[in-house]
């Protein structure tokens, strides 16, 4: 295995981790004059090239990028086979100087084989720019006296020095004095096996490496040894040693030996490398503020306020556009088609008043959800949401909730169903039940359309603030309910500490944001096309039974709703329409808006279905409308910057068709009362089913009853309190 000098022609192999700049170095060495060939019998390519230095012709072989030589993958096997083949006179290990500790693992493994090695610390310029200082001379000494050369291959820096070191190493092969101390037991085993190998392997360092590989159960080396005359005896000895050592360490030997290697590298890096602490300090400095005991929570609230303001301000033009498209061209085209095929009146009514009004009434809010999901994805991917969870966790723990409850509660902002299942992570049943009872108080995304439509109808430009307040109210009520439960029927045994990881801050990628947003929006649209569509059809039927009913109020649905409506009279919304929407809202919260839309929009006698415009005019109108919405949204977004106002005086977001209809049936006070009720009342049927599945019928009934009672009391306090204060 010892390298023999074949001057004036040398062969060098470039090994290194992926992305260490190996190809750049190859190109810098060979001037891009590489040839491409295949390893025999393999599909993985190697590149070869030629360069010249001080009268030597140097053939350069670029090996596949690998992190180690454990021969797990084809790449690793190819690289290792080539290194131990004796073909290269010198191996150049290319290491990323900005990630020294990781890159040294491969260098150490190559060093253990005993072949002449030169370490190229590539990207040295980047490392310097990051303030990383590496003592190359000392590093070379600690690796057994090998040359270490700093390079910046993409700029051509250090290439001549590297070639000089290569030639020098080839002419003066590095003495194999490098060995990691694997501890007494393993070293004894290595020595025993090494002695057995002595008859076949004449180079000590290589015999040591083979002994180590045998102990690590390396199949390639085992097969090689099996071919030796005394191969079976050696393998029997190896098996005995492995059994003894694994019993001793109670772990796999490859793990134990890798542990020693990593330990060696970690210690080595500490000696040769100096890194600035600024970058870490920056994260810490940001965390000092965003997770501050007193500032953290208000800051989180402010961030969420900004998000909801943006959702309303940026999405409002698009909401209006989708609304106009659905109630305009889509309704018009559908009516035209139904008339053309001579569809009966009931079918026209079902499609226009039932499906388009019901499903369309929900789909209108897709732009709002897209914007919300986009902002939330940004907060998640940037690492801020984890900080928010940390801040909230502290708050929840203060009121007697288990720290682990934080994660299911956060999930509750998306959908309560997976959140209830997520309580499985808590070992204490009482903690799980308590958390499950509080999860529905977190505003799930299905409630957002209700907030948006009422916000736009009654609070105009402050709609975003109103939505934010609704989320806040949910959290506050959850805290209070938690306090009551933990002091009455669900006293927790103890509050175990919970470690929340705070990931490093990073700039989210556009792809990741779009994937998050698309995933969530897809779910919403899917629900609109299935559950909401089905309920819209059933609701249309109930609104038109008994047959020939003239007024919706006299329909089956109207009568049932009117019977229940007096219950909500003290809350300010004792109408059959509001009651009906709350009844269907039990199936899914999106249906509150869908039902209101079907009742108020679908039943309008004067529902304008303009069929006189041509298809081309409609399409043009849709495109122009979209462009105008995009311009309005962009202006609003830019106007967020202090000192810039591109919105002119028009700061009131336009509302959707349903919003204006609601103004005739609700007052601002009764609207707030209705929102509070929707926020707090019985969770959807899927959530109740999840609670039943996890905790039994008793707790499912408890959840439904307590939340409805809580909602009724809170809405009553809001409405009657408002009346007393003169807001009627």
């Amino acid at each position: 295995m010892a390298a023999s000098v074949k001057t004036p022609t040398l062969t060098i192999a470039l090994a290194g981790n992926p992305n260490a700049g190996k190809t750049s170095l190859f190109n810098a060495l060979t001037g891009l004059n590489q040839g491409v060939g295949n390893f025999p019998g393999k599909t993985v390519e190697k590149k070869t090239g030629i360069c010249r230095r001080n009268g030597h012709t140097i053939s350069v072989v670029d090996l596949p990028g690998t992190y180690s030589l454990t021969a797990f993958s084809l790449d690793e096997r190819i690289a290792r086979d080539h290194i131990i083949s004796g073909e290269p006179d010198v191996v150049v290990c290319v290491a990323d100087a900005t990630n020294l500790e990781r890159n040294l693992y491969l260098a150490v493994q190559i060093r253990e084989i005993g072949v002449p090695l030169v370490l190229a610390l590539n990207m040295a310029d980047s490392a310097r720019a990051q303030g990383i200082r590496i003592d190359t001379k000392w590093l070379g000494q600690l690796l057994g006296g090998i040359p270490v050369v700093a390079t910046a291959a993409n700029r051509g820096h250090g290439i001549d020095e590297l070639l000089d070191a290569v030639v020098h190493s080839a002419e003066n092969p590095t003495p194999p004095t490098f060995a990691i101390d694997y501890g007494t037991a393993i070293e004894a085993a290595i020595a025993t096996i090494q002695t057995r190998l002595a008859d076949e392997i004449f180079v000590d360092s290589f015999a040591r490496w083979m002994a180590l590989m045998l102990l690590e159960s390396d199949q390639t080396v085992i097969e090689t040894v099996r071919e030796f005359d005394n191969g079976q005896a050696i393998l029997a000895e190896v098996g005995a040693q492995i059994g003894r050592l694994e019993t001793l360490f109670n772990d796999d030997l490859p793990i134990v030996s890798a542990d020693h290697r990593y330990g060696f590298i970690n210690g080595l890096v500490r000696q040769v490398q100096q890194k600035p602490v600024d970058r870490v300090a920056l994260t810490d400095r940001i965390d000092d503020i965003v997770t501050h005991r007193y500032l953290g929570l208000p800051l989180f609230m402010l961030v969420m306020l900004l998000v909801f303001r943006l959702v309303i301000d940026v999405a409002a033009p698009f909401l209006n556009w989708v609304d106009a498209v659905i109630t305009g061209p889509i309704a018009s085209w559908t009516a035209t088609i139904l008339t053309a095929i001579s569809a009966p009146a009931w079918l026209q009514s079902l499609v226009i008043e039932g499906i388009i009004a019901g499903v369309g009434g929900v789909l209108v809010f897709v732009p709002g959800l897209i914007v919300l999901y986009l902002f939330l994805a940004f907060l998640e991917d940037s690492g801020y949401l984890a900080r928010a969870a940390f801040v909230m966790d502290r708050l929840m723990t203060v009121v007697g909730l288990h720290g682990k409850a934080m994660i299911p509660l956060i999930l509750g902002f998306g959908c309560a169903v997976p959140a209830v299942y997520a309580t499985r992570t808590m070992s204490n049943r009482r903690d799980r039940i308590l958390t499950a009872l509080l999860i529905p108080l977190m505003s799930c995304s299905a409630r957002l359309p209700v907030y948006v439509v009422f916000g736009l109808a009654f609070f105009g430009r402050y709609a975003g603030t109103v939505i934010w307040i609704m989320y806040l109210v949910g959290i506050v009520i959850a805290v209070l309910a938690g306090l009551i439960f933990t002091r009455t029927i669900l006293q927790p045994d103890e509050n175990a500490a919970f470690v929340l990881e705070l990931p490093p801050y990073r700039m989210p990628t556009g792809r990741s944001l779009l994937l998050h947003t698309w995933g969530n929006t897809k779910e919403f649209v899917h629900k609109a096309g299935t559950l909401i569509l089905a309920v819209s059809v059933v609701l249309w039927l109930l609104l038109n039974l008994p047959l020939g009913v003239a007024e919706q109020e006299d329909s089956l649905f109207g009568q049932v709703s009117a019977t229940v409506a007096p219950v909500f009279e003290p809350l300010g919304f004792g109408t059959w329409e509001a009651t009906g929407s709350l009844i269907t809202g039990f199936i899914a919260k999106e249906l509150v808006v869908s039902t209101l839309s079907q009742i108020y929009i679908g039943a309008q006698d004067d529902l304008d279905i303009e069929t006189t415009t041509s298809f081309a005019q409609d399409v043009l109108e849709i495109m122009v409308g979209f462009w105008e919405a995009a311009v309005d949204a962009a202006r609003t977004l830019i106007s967020i910057i202090p000192g810039i106002d591109l919105t002119g005086n028009n700061t009131e977001p336009e509302d959707v068709a349903l919003s204006s209809a609601l103004r005739d049936s609700f007052t601002p006070l009764s609207a707030v009362s209705f929102l509070v009720f929707v926020l707090l009342y019985v969770p959807c049927v899927a959530t109740i089913a999840a609670v039943k599945q996890e905790f039994g019928k008793r707790w499912a009934v408890t959840a439904a009853v307590y939340q409805t009672a809580l909602a009724w009391v809170c809405a009553l306090l809001v409405y009657q309190g408002g009346l007393l204060l003169g807001y009627g």
């Binding site: 020294l100 500790e101 990781r102 793990i255 969870a389 994660i407 959908c415 997976p418 990881e501 897809k522």
Partner: protein, 90 residues
């Protein structure tokens, strides 16, 4: 280092993230990533994240704020060789 890393993971049933592990081990994240990669290769550790095998059976990973807040985590495989699905939902 590896044994310390495994011990850390064994004491955190729900797993730990890269930054947390590198902080605890006082090692470069990329170096710890290399160790984790090796442990994953050897079947001692599994990756829990949006692309992780364990979460694939959940069905709600697209909506899972949990994955987003915790980002990718690493969970040690118990002696039984099987990671229960609920374990990763920390």
């Amino acid at each position: 280092m590896l044994s310390e890393l495994l011990r850390l993971l064994e004491t955190h049933r729900g797993g730990l993230g890269l930054s947390e592990l590198s902080d605890a081990l006082n090692a470069e994240p990329s170096a710890v990533e290399g160790m984790l990669q090796m442990l994953v290769q050897r079947g001692r550790v599994i990756v829990v994240g949006a692309d992780g095998g364990v979460c694939a059976s959940c069905g709600v990973q697209e909506q899972c704020n949990l994955l987003a807040t915790h980002q990718t985590r690493y969970v040690v495989v118990p002696k039984t060789g099987r990671v229960e699905p609920g374990v990763v939902c920390y």
